[in-house]
């Protein structure tokens, strides 16, 4: 999916598809060892690209890929949040409701847009528009690019957490197709609140993480200076997120990145969005909702320790996914992962609670 030629900043070694399967068969230590410094720099360069101020944001992308764009404003509760935009658009002839984070490309505009960090109003505006799309039977296309929801006092006192939770819940049960595109920074819950979709696409230099690398560093390393290590450890690049199946597809960016070729990037995205809108339009409502539920239901992996003390992996997909990870072009960091499989079993079998049904 990722075009090697288009990778602006090459990350480690990226084996050609033909060699990937063969490599996955080999034990982990065979993975090419990539210099940690080099890897860190490469991942960090991608984080920087995802954050590039000239990267096209929701409105810029729509300008290039859609027609008849009508922006709507306000959450009908408190105010209009400029960090989230939404409204109607026509993508390659297909009518849709769009919602997306919006950053600015220069200081004043960025201040007005709060650097793409929404307050609760932003998410409540999104919810209002999702509901509208549902009533009008229009599909929803969302564009995700935020460092995270705004963490300040104003945001907290108006219930940013509740607005995020509610937005996730509304998206999860929305009776109309949702296509999500991670275009830049997929920053935690503030991103997810616009990113629960039937299909989740990411641009090649987009990143997606549970917490900002700076945040992770200040908690796990007790200093934000370790942000680069955190970025590597969290596997936040689009290719890795694809391997983890958190996203479904990576759309390559033109040669030096989306910020230098916004129109070309938008064109590439338009084709993929249109493709998925068509595919989803054919699904009946029940299948649509069941498939979306299943998409999130299977996220993550765990083991089960049986009363007999044996560790069983609940689903067979576990090893395959690790392999996919290996194949994702970041074989280097995965090497350690395989060696650290939790293989220990419980010490005292007799004391294990049995699974009881009531």
């Amino acid at each position: 999916m990722v075009d090697q030629q288009a990778v602006a900043v090459p990350v480690g070694e990226q084996p050609a598809p033909a060699t990937q399967a063969a490599q996955a068969e080999q034990p982990a230590p065979a993975a090419p060892s990539v210099d940690q410094e080099e890897l860190r720099a490469a991942v960090w360069a991608r984080v920087q690209l995802a954050r590039n101020v000239h990267r096209p944001h929701t409105l810029e992308l729509l300008r290039a890929m859609a027609t008849d764009v009508i922006e709507l404003h306000g959450d009908r509760l408190f105010r209009d949040d400029p960090a989230v935009v939404g409204g109607f658009c026509k993508i390659d002839g297909r009518r849709a409701v769009f919602v997306g984070h919006q950053k600015g490309d220069e200081v004043n505009e960025n201040v007005r847009r709060n650097f793409g960090m929404p307050h609760p109003e932003g998410y409540r505006k999104a919810i209002r528009l999702y509901r509208l799309a549902e009533r009008l039977q229009l599909p929803v296309v969302t564009f995700v690019d935020t460092p995270g929801a705004f963490p300040g006092p104003a945001s907290e006192e108006r219930g940013v957490a509740e607005s995020i939770a509610r937005s996730i819940q509304v998206m999860a049960g929305l009776r109309t197709p949702i296509v999500t595109v991670i275009t830049g920074e997929g920053g935690s819950g503030g991103a997810l609140a616009l990113a629960v979709g039937d299909v989740v696409i990411a641009l090649e230099n987009a990143v997606y993480s549970v917490i900002s690398p700076e945040g992770a560093a200040s908690i796990l390393w007790r200093s934000p200076e370790y942000a680069q290590q955190a970025a590597v450890a969290m596997r936040m690049t689009a290719a890795e997120q694809l391997a983890l199946r958190v996203i479904d597809e990576v759309v390559p960016e033109p040669a030096t990145g989306a910020h230098e070729h916004p129109a070309e990037t938008a064109r590439a995205l338009r084709a993929r969005i249109a493709y998925h809108l068509d595919a989803l339009a054919g699904r009946d409502r029940r299948t649509l909702l069941e498939t979306r539920y299943a998409r999130y239901r299977r996220m993550g992996e765990f083991a089960t320790v049986t009363p007999a003390g044996e560790t069983r992996h609940e689903r067979g997909g576990w090893v395959e996914r690790i392999r996919q990870l290996l194949e994702s072009g970041r074989a280097a960091i995965v090497g350690d992962g395989v060696g650290t499989l939790p293989t220990e079993t419980a010490e005292d079998e007799s004391d294990l609670p049995l699974r009881e049904d009531v």
Binding site: V210, M299, D351
Partner: protein
């Protein structure tokens, strides 16, 4: 005590020292006395955190708890290493806490009313939500839906578990989607937020109770202080992100001191009963509209609740 822990020999729910200092009033408290007092400071009322077994014992009828899915264990999908590899952190957390992960779920009764209940344990890696916690919350919700039992989730968590990356983030969507189905089916959910309920746990299931309850002075907020301080430059006001702040701003229904939690739940469960089964299945009148999310409230307005047990 109603629950069996997965490892041999039940460990103390707190360090073996005899004394604990109250962080609020600085009083030295004798641990045995503190336990007898539900781990509330007898002098100033400070609520210490409760471990899972103590919480279940406090809320449920004696010996009524049946744990489910006790064997679920976290897997290191990412090969995550910070200052320590994730599997090592898991192992030492298991050893020091005696539980397998940061949540336990099962069924039990509260004065005879059957409920599905999921309780988080802050002692295990800060109660952080990785795949196992997300799975347990989701299974609790799905079981509550299938059996039409009221669901209670007791949160105590710093948020999503960073060591599982976006897979932890996806647990927000997984749990909330399951709760959405519960709400659509008219099965009630009570969220009890205890110290602390922050980050991805507050921004997902914890915020979405039909009734939200908080323990006094519990830290409840979206952004942890360290995250907020790193992201924004303004310093955060005092008293902010406490249970009372949330109450004032309309995000929790009530702040209830620990000794009154059980009776509060008993009172609420008289109203928060799952909507009666679909008309074609119910033996009585077939009038209750099942398709609408709030139908259970409507069915309750007209009649007095009778026996609380729901089969």
């Amino acid at each position: 005590m109603p629950i069996k822990l997965p490892f041999g020999g039940r460990r103390q729910s707190h360090p073996t020292d005899l004394w604990t200092q109250c962080p609020d009033c600085r009083e030295m408290l004798y641990n045995k006395q503190l336990d007898k007092n539900q781990r509330i400071c007898p002098r100033c009322g400070h609520h210490f955190r409760l471990r899972v077994d103590a919480r279940l014992a406090q809320l449920l009828d004696r010996d009524s708890f049946r744990e489910q899915d006790a064997g679920l264990e976290s897997v290191d999908m990412l090969g995550f290493v910070d200052q320590k590899p994730y599997p090592e952190r898991l192992e030492s957390a298991r050893k020091s806490t005696g539980v397998r992960d940061a949540a336990v779920w099962g069924t039990g009764t509260i004065t005879g009313t059957r409920v599905a209940i999921c309780v988080m344990d802050f002692a295990f890696m800060g109660g952080s939500m990785g795949t196992v916690v997300g799975e347990k919350v989701t299974r609790a919700a799905e079981h509550a839906l299938a059996e039409r039992l009221p669901l209670i989730i007791v949160s105590s968590s710093g948020g999503a578990r960073m060591q599982e990356g976006t897979l932890s983030l996806m647990q927000l969507a997984k749990t909330v989607a399951a709760l959405g189905r519960l709400a659509d089916a008219g099965v009630p959910f009570i969220s009890l937020m205890t110290d602390p309920t922050t980050g991805g746990v507050f921004a997902s299931f914890a915020a979405l109770g039909d009734v939200n309850i908080a323990e006094p002075k519990a830290l409840i907020g979206f952004a942890g202080a360290r995250v907020a301080a790193g992201t924004i430059s303004e310093s955060l006001p005092e008293g902010f992100q406490r249970a009372e702040f949330l109450f004032e701003h309309g995000f929790v229904d009530m702040v209830v001191p620990r000794p009154r939690l059980r009776e509060t739940l008993v009172g609420l469960l008289r109203y928060l009963r799952p909507a009666t089964a679909a008309p074609d299945k119910s033996s009585g009148n077939g009038t209750s509209p099942m398709s609408r999310p709030l139908s259970y409230l409507e069915t309750l307005t007209g009649r007095e609740p009778k026996e609380a047990v729901h089969g």
